[in-house]
């Protein structure tokens, strides 16, 4: 799976209140959430983000609340992949569960700048900075999580498992 997109760059500790302010959590509509994504820290984001763009951030991305609305908003806004030097654990789970690709890579976080163009090979964990020519390698997913990603998310993965266990009993 290869992705290519323009970079939106943020710092450390981008919390879920920043990704989607709680005042908009009175809806589960992904389109509506996308319209307010990053609103309090970057008013331009929701207006200018394009399908296929990539978010690159520092440490502890997605800290704070457990709201799955955060990765949902990013994905619905068109973000194809989030790269950060580290992720808060609930956000990490949520992103994988809803099928938003995420990669942990401190080097990329350090050396990639806003508006640069990246090419990401998810399976290999390879990040190419097409603007600077540098190549980075992200931490590989545990095989267990890769299985969830390959199934298309946790719901699909669970459907398959439930189906298999039913057919096993027959």
């Amino acid at each position: 799976m290869t992705m290519r997109g323009r970079v939106w760059k943020y710092g450390d500790n981008v919390d879920t209140d920043a990704i989607i302010p709680a005042r908009y959590l009175n809806t589960s509509s992904s389109e509506e959430l996308a319209r307010h994504c990053m609103e309090d820290i970057d008013a331009n984001f929701a207006l200018q983000v394009k399908s296929g763009d990539i978010v690159v951030a520092g440490a502890n991305f997605g800290c704070g609340s457990s709201r799955e609305h955060a990765p949902v908003a990013l994905k619905a806004a068109g973000v194809e992949c989030v790269i950060a030097s580290s992720f808060a654990r609930i956000f990490y789970r949520n992103a994988i569960n809803i099928g938003l690709p995420i990669l942990e890579c401190s080097e990329a976080s350090e050396h990639v700048e806003a508006n640069q163009e990246l090419e990401v090979e998810l399976g290999e964990g390879i990040i190419r900075n097409l603007s600077s020519g540098r190549v980075f390698r992200a931490a590989a997913f545990p095989s267990f999580m890769l299985a969830i990603i390959e199934a298309g998310g946790l719901v699909e993965y669970t459907r398959q498992r439930l189906h298999n266990s039913l057919t096993d009993h027959e």
């Binding site: 709680a22 457990s66 545990p142």
Partner: protein, 442 residues
């Protein structure tokens, strides 16, 4: 006696090697004989929780899984608390969706407005969480229940949907950091100050993915409400769980709240901690976290002159009986400063009722504070005290991120209830000593 079938009885015998209590609780909920930190395991969960914000998404995902019924209608808890009593039409629709799902699935632990409260205050109060339980909730502050010796952690809505369908979820067994607190607590220093100080020490990702085990002589004397406050904010250091050993205070708290059997787990002396941190609190003053991170703490004496527009006393962090009691001690016979709005939010209906019967509500109202029904309300900028641009609020809640309680240019300062109450009177951030109030209990 009812018993949750999700749990094995023979963890200590099966293992034969030293483990932390977090590891033991997780092992007890697996089919395995051994586990170690870092393992990815499937666990059977005792209780699955969601609220009016996270349940609607979970219910939508549940419908996609392809099962008709939840795994056990008695082990799912749904609480409308974030935007309930309904703050607007959209919130009303979300609450309605959750209510209808609860009815349709026969979920016994759905708690309607008027019989409910803030989930993390309510569940322990009702005896729904006991020592040794493994609880997951679609709310990051689910870690609160670690105060009772349970392993409890927050997840997202899709995880909760899968757990509602199967009674199982995958977990990475966390490493444990042990915090040993020593010394004697000074007056007006409570669990909130201990945890703010700790987060200041290790940072907002200092315990990322890890269990925080709170121990040491200070903890032995720490009232259960203060333990809830500490476990509650483990997530603010990135922690997966905040956990306390079961002792006399725990047993006294759970007494009479549940007929269910439970099991206490103890960390082995040789258990493998990734880090042990010794913290002497003898000199610790009340702590204030400045905008915009909970780790940005200063002792009260170094706060300087910070005028405030609002003071909030409540939330899953500090909306319990002893929190209100402390605030009332300070506000008795005082007046909220003319330029301050003071909002008091009892955590549950039973705390509200007790506050009414024991005269606390009268103290608050006479002081010029407003008392809200139980709700998360302003903590996450929902309603009932949202901030305008440039306003400052001292709050006993748990997060002070940009825009957390309203306008992105507003500022939130986190403190214990005594400091918040004193600040409400002073009109700026300050402590009870400035009002010459002596603590009833140290």
């Amino acid at each position: 006696m009812t018993k949750f079938l999700s749990r094995k009885e023979s963890v200590d015998l099966a293992s034969g090697y030293p483990m932390t209590m977090a590891e033991k609780i997780i092992l007890a909920h697996t089919e395995r004989d051994l586990i170690a930190a870092g393992d990815l395991v499937d666990v059977n969960v005792d209780l699955v929780l969601a609220n009016d914000i996270t349940a609607p998404l979970a219910i939508r995902e549940f419908a996609r899984i392809g099962v008709e019924r939840v795994f056990d209608p008695d082990r799912i808890v749904l609480v409308p608390d974030h935007f309930a009593p309904n703050k607007d039409i959209k919130a009303a629709e979300q609450c309605k969706l959750m209510r209808e799902f609860a009815r349709q699935q026969g979920i016994s632990n759905y708690f309607e407005v008027g019989r409910a409260g803030i989930e993390h205050v309510l569940l322990p109060e009702l005896g729904l969480v006991l020592p040794g339980d493994l609880v997951i909730g679609a709310d990051s502050h689910t870690c609160t229940y670690g105060a009772l010796g349970a392993f409890a952690t927050g997840m997202g809505s899709t995880d909760i949907a899968v757990a509602m369908a199967t009674g199982k979820i995958w977990l990475k067994v966390p490493e444990t950091i042990r915090f040993n607190y020593h010394g004697k607590r000074r007056s007006w220093v409570g669990g909130k100050d201990l945890i703010l100080h700790t987060i200041g020490l290790i940072g907002v990702e200092g315990a990322r993915y890890k269990a925080m085990e709170f121990a040491g002589p200070v903890v032995a004397d720490l009232p259960i409400d203060d333990r809830f406050t500490m476990a509650n904010m483990a997530i603010e250091a990135g922690g997966k769980a905040g956990i306390f050993h079961v002792d006399a205070a725990t047993l006294e708290y759970i007494e009479g709240r549940s007929a269910r059997t439970y099991r206490s787990y103890t960390s082995d002396p040789e258990a493998n901690y990734v880090r042990t941190i010794e913290i002497d609190i003898s000199e610790l003053e009340p702590q204030v976290a400045f905008p915009h991170l909970p780790s940005n703490v200063r002792p009260l004496r170094e706060v300087g002159k910070v005028p405030i527009d609002q003071a909030v006393i409540g939330s899953c962090t500090n909306g319990r009986w002893s929190d209100l009691k402390q605030a009332a001690e300070i506000m008795r016979g005082q007046q909220v400063h003319a330029e301050v709005r003071c909002i008091i939010i009892p955590g549950t209906q039973s705390i509200y009722l007790r506050a009414a019967k024991e005269g606390l509500l009268a103290i608050f109202v006479e002081a010029g504070a407003v008392v809200s029904p139980p709700s998360c309300g302003p903590c996450l900028g929902g309603y009932m005290g949202v901030l305008a641009a440039g306003e400052r609020c001292i709050s006993t809640t748990n997060r002070n991120f940009v825009g957390r309680m309203g306008h992105p240019e507003s500022k939130v300062y986190l403190s214990n209830p005594a400091v918040a109450a004193a600040s409400a009177v002073l009109g700026r951030i300050g402590g009870p000593k400035e009002l010459n109030v002596n603590p009833e209990y140290s």
